[in-house]
């Protein structure tokens, strides 16, 4: 039969190569990514020419909202000895101890489970008197409580022997069992203030003055890279 054979053309495209590429890209992003830390408030840090990077371990960052609310976020070391979880738990225990010393009539005690719960939380900012209640909440309500709550109690206090709660937290972090954190705090790289660029100076000044009072004279300010206008 003299029929000309028409070659049947395959309409499907081979997706194997495409799949290879996407998997490669996916691996790249998975390996390089550091997730955005969830923060109770969003701040836009002011631009600066400084090129020093924020350390990603052994850092106490002080988040300051424009209204003057203060939150803390603590990261421990990357190696296994002083992981963030261990350090946070230890700092909370220190804090409870010094809080109870200051308020002998109003003692609080936290169970091991509550301490463990706390050690998983990145950023926190509730008065110690509400800590137990806050830890009992589920994640959604916790975030809400952070947003609406008063933050860590802070005031203009220049008496190092009678610290406010913010100063007690910083001291608790300084005296934690992690020597690396203590060392970075002494060098001024362990404490970073993160405040919005529209924050009035009076608010930032309170935080700085509090740190000064407890002899943490060196610290860093978090900034964003400046896009050169010249």
């Amino acid at each position: 039969m003299g029929k000309v054979k028409v070659k049947k053309k395959e309409t499907r495209i081979d997706m194997t190569a495409m799949s290879d590429v996407t998997v490669l890209l996916l691996t790249f992003f998975m390996l390089t990514s550091t997730f955005l830390q969830k923060e109770p408030i969003t701040v836009i840090t002011p631009p600066s020419v400084s090129e020093e990077k924020v350390p990603d371990q052994n850092l106490v960052s002080v988040l300051v909202s424009p209204e003057g609310k203060v939150y803390l976020a603590i990261t421990g070391s990357k190696d296994s000895t002083y992981k963030s979880e261990t350090v946070r738990g230890d700092i909370l225990k220190n804090m409870v101890k010094s809080y109870n010393e200051k308020h002998p009539s109003n003692k609080i005690s936290l169970t091991n489970k509550e301490v463990e719960e706390f050690s998983k939380i990145g950023a926190f900012g509730v008065p110690m008197s509400q800590m137990k209640k806050w830890l009992a909440m589920d994640i959604e309500n916790r975030d809400k409580a952070l947003e609406q709550g008063p933050g860590i109690p802070i005031n203009m206090n220049e008496d190092p022997d009678n610290p406010n709660e913010f100063q007690m937290w910083i001291r608790a972090a300084y005296n934690s069992l992690n020597p690396e954190l203590q060392e970075t705090m002494v060098r001024g790289k362990g404490i970073a203030i993160k405040a919005d660029q529209t924050t009035p100076y009076s608010v930032v000044n309170i935080v700085m003055d509090n740190l000064q009072t407890i002899k943490m004279n060196k610290f860093s300010l978090m900034t964003a890279l400046k896009t050169e206008e010249e």
Partner: protein
């Protein structure tokens, strides 16, 4: 004719369709791309003086001729936030004058952020550069050497030698170096404080500090603003 076809086995396509796999991967990539932070934020190191009361004799008094005081002021909107593009800078040389002198001889000058001449920062940069010109000149010479790779052929070593030498020059006490005292009013925006701190780095000033605003400073500010109106 007997049907041959019935006995023939159906040919299976061995290829797998990868399209859904690609779809899923793309979704995952988008997720990771949106969730990652590529740019890490920067930090600015500052050291404040200790809060402890120091005996007057032990204090290192700043030399009058070397001191420059910069005062940052801002405006607060109805939400209680500082406006980052509005505000003023005040500055004066030397120590604050006695209270009786400020009416007749007010040394303070005012620059506004965002005025026609490019704003306060270029103006203050000019002033600081002038005060710190001995250091700036030396650093510029050093920078030329650094660009020509005079210290070493390797970029890294060249960089580190340059950094060490620049630090030496900045802290060289034989040169005339100003001491900058930065003060901010409660209304000043944090962004302005940071950008003034930036100017210290830009102009290679090694000696600066943040101080609290005094009564004399506020009085002078009111006077300067009164004159302008």
């Amino acid at each position: 004719m007997a049907r041959k076809d019935t006995s023939r086995q159906k040919k299976f396509d061995t290829r797998i369709d990868f399209t859904p796999m690609v779809d899923m991967n793309m979704l995952l990539i988008t997720f990771f791309m949106l969730c990652t932070t590529m740019i890490k934020s920067q930090t600015l190191q500052i050291a404040l003086p200790s809060n402890e009361k120091v005996e007057e004799e032990q204090q290192n008094k700043v030399k009058q001729s070397e001191a420059v005081t910069i005062i940052i002021d801002g405006k607060i909107d109805d939400k209680g936030l500082s406006k980052p593009d509005e505000g003023m800078l005040f500055y004066y040389d030397g120590m604050p004058p006695a209270a009786t002198e400020i009416l007749t001889n007010n040394p303070m000058k005012k620059v506004e952020f965002g005025n026609g001449n490019g704003g306060a920062l270029p103006a203050i940069r000019e002033i600081l550069r002038e005060r710190n010109k001995e250091v700036v000149k030396k650093i510029e010479l050093l920078k030329k050497d650094w660009k020509d790779m005079k210290f070493s052929n390797k970029e890294e070593i060249n960089d580190s030698i340059y950094q060490a030498k620049a630090k030496e020059i900045r802290n060289d006490s034989t040169l005339k170096r100003p001491v900058i005292i930065i003060k901010a009013t409660p209304n000043a925006s944090y962004a302005h404080v940071v950008s003034v701190l930036d100017e210290m780095q830009i102009n290679n000033i090694s000696r600066y500090q943040i101080d609290r605003i005094g009564a004399i400073d506020s009085a002078m500010m009111i006077l300067v603003q009164g004159q302008a109106q």
